[in-house]
């Protein structure tokens, strides 16, 4: 039977919800679900995780106060060996992507990144070519290392009884990296990659003012994140990290509203996994309409204020 080890991500001493999506993915296979928490003074996180797992290995050490890939990889693989894990799971967040390839090497394990569904205990479905194609891959190794696309797995529910929290005897390896600082993005808007609504703008907005006057108020009204086409990022109208597309961020929100975006392949690759796509564009021939669930041929400067207005009446 499979034994799953879930890597817990946490922040400000609170378990991140993305970890619960990783557990949901593991549950598709069945077997024991164990958790592993690394940190310093992280008992509270371990207790929280124990509500979802039958056992939690708590690795509490001052050398683990910051999430650094090199020391973390050693400890996670130590715990994996100790617990006899057959599957290791993490959310495909920046942290999961940074850490798990190193863990896979240490365990001589095949790795599946950013999976969107589970076929069986060794086969998974994951997007390739920025979601242009889908691949079915099989991990041929006894131990399997997997990261999970959070938007594809709903967070799991709590178990009826809490599992045990077991302190793990940490022995740090050598580390050549040190944490210096963290600058949190001070934005009241959700993060682009895990927002449930994304409002994206393109050339049709005519300039940075178009974003200020139309996209930002609409996004704030809907509690949405803001995205943009490559063209407007390259033109410097908006920050580069707003870019949605093959060379930018890949998003899959519940609702994606593309405003003044023509729909170049590059852009579409980054957003076509969205549940519902709305396109507003002046040009009735714009390719974005071919993939939009709802298309409105209209001038953004007229339609968006109307949209904000009618939202405020909801």
């Amino acid at each position: 039977m499979a034994t799953h080890l879930i890597f817990a991500e946490h922040e400000h001493n609170t378990l991140k919800r993305s970890t619960l999506s990783a557990i949901s993915a593991a549950k598709k296979i069945g077997g024991d679900i164990y958790g592993v928490v690394l940190g310093h003074g992280a008992k509270k996180v371990a207790d929280e995780l124990a509500q979802y797992c039958s056992k939690v290995h708590l690795c509490d050490h001052e050398g683990l106060a910051h999430r650094l890939a090199q020391p973390y990889a050693k400890i996670v693989s130590d715990v994996a060996k100790f617990s006899g894990a057959s599957h290791l799971w993490a959310a495909a967040t920046v942290a999961g992507k940074d850490l798990f390839p190193r863990v896979a090497i240490r365990l001589n394990a095949g790795m599946a990144s950013d999976i969107q569904s589970v076929i069986n205990e060794s086969s998974f479905i994951r997007p390739v070519w920025a979601g242009d194609l889908i691949s079915e891959i099989e991990l041929l190794t006894p131990i399997k290392v997997i990261t999970v696309r959070v938007s594809e797995f709903a967070p799991c529910d709590k178990n009826s009884t809490s599992g045990q929290v077991i302190p793990f005897d940490v022995s740090l390896g050598s580390s050549h990296m040190r944490f210096v600082s963290f600058d949190a993005v001070s934005s009241s808007r959700p993060e682009l990659s895990d927002a449930s609504i994304v409002i994206a703008g393109g050339r049709g907005l005519k300039g940075p003012e178009g974003f200020k006057e139309l996209i930002e108020p609409l996004a704030d009204r809907l509690g949405a994140a803001i995205g943009a086409s490559r063209a407007v990022c390259d033109a410097g109208w908006v920050p580069n990290d707003w870019q949605v597309g093959q060379t930018g961020k890949v998003v899959a929100p519940k609702l994606y509203i593309a405003i003044g975006i023509s729909g170049a392949i590059q852009h579409v690759a980054g957003m076509k996994g969205s549940k519902v796509i709305v396109a507003i564009n002046k040009d009735p021939e714009a390719p974005i309409f071919q993939i939009a669930d709802y298309g409105l041929v209209a001038d953004a400067f007229k339609a968006v204020p109307e949209l904000i207005e009618s939202l405020s009446r909801l």
């Binding site: 994951r126 099989e138 600058d183």
Partner: protein
Amino acid sequence: MKILVTVKRVTDYEAKLKVSLDGSDIIREGVNMIMNPFDEIAVEEALRLQEKHGGEIVVLSIGNKDSETQMRAAMAMGVDRGILVETNLNISQHLDSSFAAKIIHKIIVKEAPDLVLMGKQSIDDDNHQTAEMVAELWGVGQASQANTVTIKGREAIVIREADGGLETLSIDLPCVISADLRLNEPRYAPLPGIMKAKKKPLDFIQLGDLGIEHKQQVKLNRLVHPVSRKSGQRVSSVTELMTKLKNEAKVI
């Protein structure tokens, strides 16, 4: 300072791709190939570091002879020389990330660079694994998804794109850094650079000669096109759009 930078030949992000009949690969005939965009950013960063600190830049690629085109492109940007680990294996099918990482590590042991710069992922397989795997095999520190790189003595100060903000790390050299989108904007190769690139040294090494033991860990069983989206409906007004989003799609 000696920098090793890796480059992968990938399909153009503008290309319309079709899966072959048996689902084992894409149809590659007639598809334009480019340097992986994240690798291009890594090459640019190597050049900028060389401008500040001097030293040599070596570009490394794994693939068939065609990869020479992308390596010459890196040389045209300014890279000094290249190493192509030649293989006719279909990379998507038979060369999993850990195999690629072992190959790169083998070359690292030979070349002993101070820094290895790589793209954070290739835009075909989208694995985002190799750079981190190389760092682990090499037993060094890493900064993935770099936004800013500064070298101070034997230390790299790297600002990286993290969830919800920017994280700054200090890492001992040698180390592995993977490039994210915002790290820089790659230069266009100048015409004299393109001329010079043709004459820069490029070593061909046969994969078999590296003596790497690797049992395939990840197997590609099938490629498919995602269920294509139904071409949706046109709405005639904002009011109609709102009604549909509320009552039909139930997303607001």
